[in-house]
């Protein structure tokens, strides 16, 4: 039981990476648009499918594989295109739906996002069918590091997640757009009074959140080798648990929460059945709401 824990930590870090990429976007849209976006998981799904589509497109042009990894150079343009396309999709949804609800109550926006989630998922079902689609059939040999088996793909996933989080940190901390995003999260009325073009900041928020969601979806596809239309729906609970654990509206909290939820879910399987993984995330969510509703890094 205990001897499995180092191995489970590896799995936990990998699934935590995927959760983190979704959770930071969810947290960003929450803090700037002030509602819980139930369609964020489905933005991960759409991003994963877009990634797969671009991968099929680019693979004949850029064949081959990188050393021990399960994919080759075609993945790089595919990921970038999928992130851009997913960002455009999110901005499009915003123009079509949420923009008309800017001054509406948060619960109305929440219900609208549930609607968007259903539409997105069914559009994906309609265009890609319900059967899983495979990112790769390549069978990888795991590396052995001190008794722990690690696949090269898993190191890659962790590395990409860390880079993405660093990128977000730099964006929020040092760029004008990032500072305006934080300003709007703090005080939207004052942002408007200062002459900040709030609609442009909203568009950037969707773009960044959806791009990171796409990256998370694709990395999940690489780890699991496949993607189903249910990917985002199944990830939604851990996403919310991560955001609430870290502190709603705090992107750094979302990173901390994402990794913690990923680790907790995987390590729990040493003691209880794998089937209870979602219950672990849910348990942490409920406990956190009871004990420290503002989250680990949340204010107030």
């Amino acid at each position: 039981m205990w001897e499995r824990i180092p191995q489970l930590i590896v799995y936990g870090l990998v699934s935590g990476s995927v959760i983190t990429l979704g959770a930071v976007g969810l947290s960003l849209t929450y803090s700037i648009l002030r509602f819980s976006n139930f369609a964020h998981g489905d933005l991960m799904t759409s991003g994963a499918y877009l990634g797969l589509g671009f991968l099929v497109l680019f693979s004949p042009l850029l064949p081959g594989r990188f050393g021990p990894l399960s994919f080759g150079p075609a993945l790089i343009p595919a990921v970038l295109c999928a992130m851009a396309a997913n960002a455009a999709l999110a901005i499009g949804i915003d123009r079509l739906v949420y923009r008309h609800l800017r001054r509406a109550k948060a619960v109305l926006l929440l219900m609208a996002s549930v609607g968007v989630a259903f539409v997105l998922r069914n559009l994906i079902l309609f265009s890609a069918e319900a059967d899983p689609l495979y990112f790769s059939h390549h069978i990888q040999r795991a590396l052995r590091i001190g008794g722990v088996r690690v696949k090269a793909d898993q190191l890659f996933i962790l590395g990409v997640a860390v880079l993405a989080v660093l990128f977000l940190h730099v964006l929020l901390r040092y760029t004008k757009t990032g500072k305006a995003m934080r300003a709007m999260a703090d005080n939207p009325e004052l942002a408007q009074v200062s002459g900040i073009n709030t609609e442009r900041v909203v568009a950037w928020t969707w773009a960044v959140g959806a791009a990171l969601a796409a990256l998370g979806g694709i990395l999940s596809g690489i780890e699991n080798k496949l993607v189903t239309p249910e990917l985002g729906w199944q990830t939604l609970l851990p996403l919310f648990a991560a955001v609430i654990l870290g502190g709603i509206g705090s992107p750094y909290g979302a990173m901390l929460g994402g990794m913690t939820i990923g680790l907790a879910e995987e390590v729990s399987t040493a003691f209880i059945s794998t089937a209870y993984k979602p219950a672990v995330a849910f348990g942490i969510l409920v406990l956190m709401l009871l004990v420290r509703p503002q989250g680990l890094l949340g204010r107030r």
Partner: protein
Amino acid sequence: MPLLEAREIHSGYGGMEVLHGVSVTLAAGELVTIIGPNGAGKSTLLKTMFGLLTPTQGTVSLGEEDITGAPPHRIVRHGMCYVPQVDNVFPSLTVEENLQMGAFILRGGIEARLARVYELFPVLKDRRRQRVGKMSGGERQMVAMGRALMLDPQVLLLDEPTAALAPNLVEQVFQSIQAIVGSGVGVLMVEQNARQSLAIADRGYVLVDGRNRREGSGQELLADEEIGRLFLGG
């Protein structure tokens, strides 16, 4: 001709009229204070002039421009900035980031403006990397005014800049306001501290029940018996 002029303004919230034809003017580089009892419509007047509320009647002009009903992000481009009474800083941002947000519409080249604000408020320069949420009320007020000065406006609207401040800080904020006026910015402020604000103002207006009650130089109003009885505590 005044730089800023509100003429016969009727305005309010959702069908409830608060202002029933108020007029005020401000000349370039002038310090004008608006006093009056709670509910007289002082804040409503500033919000209407800054485009946060749309008047049902009356006009607001700034220089040659008619800015009646223009949105705030357009008004700031015409050289008028506004400091709300509450929630007038970005608490999780640093002092310098708050000031940068004030100059958001400019493309680069804000170093000189930052330097100017730091010259007006030297204490902010020492704390420019500190989060504003952790600062005192007086310092926050300086950040709020500094943010509004980043666009180098001709006119600054201040909504009760000394509300909820300790008496020693009130003095400090009024000194800052005098320094701002000294640098050539016209300031129109709403104030609860009637006596102190009239003492430093060029002119003052007394608003009662959404109407102009009196106007005159700061000294005239201070010396006025009726106003003394009503607003200055004897």
